[in-house]
């Protein structure tokens, strides 16, 4: 169960999750889990008291260190903080893992 895997977490504006999944597949990410969330930041946007533009998608995937770095480069380049996707991603170290085949897979469309 010991490994050099990373848990890659991507926070992105809602609606861009599928595009990010497609882009990361090309660098070897096999699968991910997406969940919905509400963002809260320093700049609170609201119209007539209704909060707008805070819906986010969280993407969680477990990948090896090299693939995680490749995925982060792709995300930064195509969906970075200056793009409409406004994504932020980070990795967390993984101690132990079960249920995953750790051989990297290169996506072929």
């Amino acid at each position: 169960m010991e490994n050099n895997m990373k848990a890659l977490m991507i926070v992105v504006n809602a609606g861009f999750a599928d595009d990010i999944i497609d882009a990361t597949r090309e660098v070897g990410v096999r699968g991910a889990t997406i969940f919905n969330a509400r963002g809260e930041g320093a700049h609170h946007k609201s119209i007539l008291g209704i909060t707008v533009d805070t819906e986010k998608d969280l993407i969680l995937c477990v990948v090896d260190t090299i693939t995680a770095e490749k995925a982060m480069d792709v995300i930064k380049e195509k969906f970075g903080i200056k793009t409409p996707a406004h994504s932020i991603c980070f990795t967390m170290p993984v101690d132990k893992i079960v249920g995953i085949n750790i051989e990297p897979l290169i996506y072929k469309p």
Binding site: A7, I21, G31, T33, L60, V94, D95, K96, I97, G99
Partner: protein, 106 residues
């Protein structure tokens, strides 16, 4: 109260599997004396058949993400239980991993 890393190493356990296993998993976790459990629904990235998707026959959030904070020893027992009881060592059943945590305050 604060638990330091040196007192008893703790880690953050994340389990991702199908929603149909949620109840059984929660029962098993509680039986294993694991607490601080959170459940989130999510969706996988496997593309479903186009027609089923168009007809709305594919459940939107078909995955469950269960997270909990516990000691490394307990988490290791849970990981073993997931392999033996829930078949996580077989493909397409689920994954689980632990990430280290420095400190917990409660």
């Amino acid at each position: 109260m604060m638990i330091n890393e040196t007192d008893n190493k703790i880690s953050f356990l994340t389990i991702i599997t199908g929603r149909n296993k949620k109840d059984a998993l929660l029962t098993a976790l509680l039986d294993s004396d694991i607490h601080l459990i959170n459940t989130i629904y999510g969706k996988g990235t496997v593309k479903a058949n186009f027609l089923r998707n168009a007809l709305g026959l594919v459940p939107e959030e078909n995955k469950v993400v269960i997270t909990c904070i516990s000691t490394c020893v307990k988490n290791e027992i849970v990981l073993r239980m997931l392999e033996e009881k829930f078949g996580f060592n077989k493909p397409n059943t689920g994954i689980a991993f632990t990430a280290p945590i420095d400190k917990v305050s409660y």
